[in-house]
């Protein structure tokens, strides 16, 4: 195998493994903020128990997220040196801004979030939790800005030619707010809320099925369900906005997502299907001319197909892009269905009465994870053969001095470590869940805790 495919496999492996964790940090962070805010407002100790319990799981996901995240920052230089030279001006500055504005905030307050329960007052602890959550949200801002610039470059000009060519910033804000960054950021944020909310729903549904920690679990389930409901419905909106953006800025990617070849034809929208790239045919269940309607609000308007573009400028794996995209959409719809069903049961006062619903929700934790991964695979494979859309080809972006053997060495290394890491993660997560929210925390030891509860009691 050559260096290009090996480096692509290595990057895909390391980044998709990493991406299990940051969305969980963002999503869990949001709900932990809600738990702690509810505790501050009501003084109800149940909320604090929930916050403490989820902090422990948060610690696990955050730790692995950090350790696997630095890998990518280094890989740009080690495996994609030409890319780094080309985009350093832009991508580098987004990455540096992420480090200084987001990651420092997040990791700085993490110590207090994890170890400060008995050291600082509940109010200060809440601020620390908020700091960590904001940090994780800001992290997503800069990373998505950097990636969106690769999809829809803006605010730059090209200096030099051939090997010397590189992109330089002309307008920082145009670079930050490039045509796709806002839509994609909101899509990523909400995807992360879903990942966190569904983990919380899953764990507490499990407790309810096992008849353990009933009261806290009902409370947590309801809060997470509200977050999941709002998020899954908004995701439909941000997803649609993203697709509109792709239609305008990356028409070849859109065509690959729906396996649409003929530019003179209106385009179908598939529920599911299979693309035969050689014969340019898709077999599956479709809404005839659906894509035309979605993009142009007109069933008969033609959509640019893959044949419109030179062969060397379209994604190499059309069927894969198609499949990943459809998996994401199908899961998105399923999540809407599940949360609406929950809302309906809640309204009828029967949210916790149906065992099957709780069982489904235990398993549903995997769905947002799969959708997040599939969405990114569709986005990144759909961008091919470009690493920076229309400007720099992936095959030109490699490190010239790195050999295939070196990449094989690191690929084997990472595969082994990540297998071990994932096994340990699942084992420890399972153990923490089995253990459950601690029933005898040293809660009274917190500074100013008593005063706060008393003050609340006298007020109400």
């Amino acid at each position: 195998m050559d260096v290009e495919i090996l480096s692509r496999i290595q990057f895909a492996l390391t980044v998709s493994f990493h991406y299990i964790y940051p969305p969980l940090s963002i999503g869990l962070g949001l709900i932990m903020v809600i738990f702690e805010a509810s505790y501050l407002k009501t003084g109800n100790i149940e909320y604090e128990r929930l916050a403490r319990f989820w902090t422990k799981i948060f610690a696990l996901t955050f730790g692995i997220g950090v350790a696997t995240g630095i890998v990518m920052e280094f890989e740009f230089g080690t495996n994609w040196a030409t890319y780094s030279r080309y985009v350093g001006d832009i991508f580098g500055s987004a990455l540096a801004a992420e480090g200084i504005f987001a990651f420092a905030l997040e990791s700085g307050f993490l110590g207090i979030l994890l170890f400060g329960w008995n050291r600082v007052s509940p109010r200060v602890h809440f601020i620390a939790t908020l700091g960590v959550w904001f940090g994780s949200m800001f992290s997503a801002v800069w990373i998505v800005v950097a990636n969106s610039w690769q999809q829809t470059p803006a605010g730059y000009h090209i200096v030099g030619e051939g090997l010397e060519a590189r992109a330089e910033v002309t307008d920082f804000w145009a670079m930050v707010f490039n045509p796709s960054s806002v839509d994609r950021l909101s899509h990523v944020w909400i995807g992360s809320f879903l990942a966190g909310a569904f983990l919380i729903i899953s764990v507490h549904a499990y407790y309810l099925l096992k008849n353990r920690h009933i009261e806290v679990s009902k409370r947590a389930f309801k809060i997470a369900l509200v977050v999941a409901l709002v998020a899954s419905l908004s995701q439909l909106f941000t997803g649609h906005r993203s697709a509109d953006g792709v239609a305008i800025n990356q028409p070849a990617k859109l065509a690959a997502m729906e396996g649409h070849y003929d530019s003179l034809q209106a385009a179908d929208m598939y529920i599911m299907g299979w693309v035969d790239h050689d014969n340019q045919e898709v077999t599956g269940i479709k809404i005839p001319n659906g894509l035309s309607f979605l993009i142009h609000q007109d069933f008969n308007e033609p959509v640019k197909g893959l044949n419109h573009f030179p062969k060397e400028d379209i994604p190499g794996q059309v069927n894969a892009v198609f499949q990943f995209y459809h998996i994401m959409v199908a899961i998105g719809m399923t999540l809407i269905g599940l949360t609406l069903l929950g809302a309906f049961l809640w309204w009828r006062g029967k949210l916790f009465d149906h065992k099957w619903y709780l069982q489904v929700m235990v398993a549903a934790v995997l769905l947002p994870q799969i959708a997040n991964q599939a969405g990114w695979f569709a986005a990144e494979m759909g961008r091919q053969p470009w690493v920076v859309y229309g400007l720099l080809r992936t095959s030109d972006a490699l490190s010239k001095v790195v050999t295939a053997n070196q990449v094989i060495f690191s690929l084997v290394l990472f595969t082994a470590i990540y297998c071990l890491l994932f096994t340990l993660f699942v084992y420890l997560l399972n153990k923490k869940i089995k253990h459950g929210p601690d029933d005898s925390p040293m809660i009274d030891q917190r500074p100013k805790q008593k005063e706060m509860v008393e003050a609340l009691n006298t007020h109400s």
Partner: protein, 344 residues
């Protein structure tokens, strides 16, 4: 090129990157050093205390590496690309140890079995030591330069990174981090463990001073170009002089049992030594061995002036914020280690 306070943007950014890496060396230096000492503690309690001494801060310390990497990528993309791809294997090993270290800290306390804890203790200690060594290897290679071609690409073999000088600098780095970490552990421990570390810190100081002296002599003999800058501008001699004074002050303060001051001076020594490195190299960042015309300098290796300007604004806004919450966290966990049910 635009200037600020009479210094051009590229040089300013060179100073910023240098300052971030100094911050990283000082902060992660003590927790890597503490990690290297870990197996010297034999009983479970001391090991837990040692681990919890760095518990709430190691993650924040590592952030400085992320910022440093980003700052180098943004300010000097050519340097970043050339160095990282030239030293592919050491960087991959570095990442491996970084991951192992993080999970050792995280997973050790999660099971009570003795073999489990021992396994993670060994992983934690060895990865801490190897991280220090690999940082030294990179520094050693940057100091002596590497073969470059006209496109500012690395033109050597992949094994080039292993050489006597790199190993010498690596040993030196491990030694200074172990000294720094030992002083940190003294500040954080009590009783027998405290006594033990007050003995070990003396060994660490001797280890550092000997390895540092050998490396310095070797540098002066084999890499005379590194002292050119000082010969051109003799007033700069003040920097290495202050570095030596700062290093000499450490044994004195330890002897007087003023450990907080000793820690301050070991931090200062790390910063001063890196400043010496920065002066030795400037304006070159990566010396091209054999063909000085292919040197990568702060000018031909830098990002555009526009980006450097933007980044300086970002640094100016960000640095006080980072300093504020770093201080707040260290202040919250000041004093000796106190363990509770939340500890590792």
């Amino acid at each position: 090129m635009a200037t600020f306070l009479g210094i051009d943007y590229a040089t300013l950014w060179y100073l910023v990157v240098g300052a971030v890496f100094s911050g990283y060396a000082i902060l992660d230096g003590f927790d890597l050093g503490a990690g290297a000492w870990h197996l010297f503690f034999k009983d479970e309690k001391s090991r837990r205390v040692a681990l919890n001494a760095i518990g709430p801060v190691w993650d924040g310390n590592e952030v400085w590496l992320v910022i440093g990497g980003g700052a180098l990528f943004a300010g000097f993309p050519i340097v970043y690309a050339t160095v990282f791809s030239a030293m592919y294997i050491p960087f991959m090993l570095f990442l491996t140890f970084l991951i192992f270290r993080a999970i050792s800290i995280e997973f050790r306390s999660k099971e009570p079995m003795k073999w489990w804890r021992n396994m993670w203790d060994v992983a934690y200690s060895l990865s801490s030591a190897f991280l220090a060594i690999l940082l030294g290897v990179v520094l050693g290679n940057v100091l002596q330069g590497m073969p470059l071609d006209a496109d500012m690409e690395f033109a050597g073999s992949w094994l080039e990174f292993i050489n006597p000088y790199a190993i010498m600098v690596a040993v030196c780095t491990l030694a200074i981090f172990m000294m720094h970490g030992a002083i940190y552990l003294i500040m954080k421990t009590e009783g027998k463990q405290f006594d033990k570390m007050t003995r070990h810190v003396k060994e660490a100081m001797i280890f550092f001073i000997v390895s540092f002296a050998i490396t310095t002599v070797y540098t002066l003999i084999y890499f005379p170009h590194l002292s050119d800058r000082f010969k051109e501008t003799p007033v700069l001699f003040i920097v290495p002089l202050l570095a030596f004074l700062s290093i000499a002050n450490i044994p004195r303060l330890i002897h007087k049992k003023k450990y907080n001051f000793a820690f301050f001076f070991s931090s200062l020594s790390i910063a001063m030594l890196l400043m010496v490195v920065a002066i030795e190299l400037y304006p070159v960042i990566i010396i091209s061995k054999g063909n000085p015309e292919f040197n990568i300098t702060v000018y031909n290796g830098a990002a555009s002036e526009k980006t450097l300007g933007i980044m300086l604004v970002i640094a100016a806004i960000g640095t006080p914020l980072v300093a504020a919450y770093t201080t707040f966290v260290f202040w919250t966990f000041r004093g000796k280690v106190q363990m509770d049910e939340l500890s590792y």
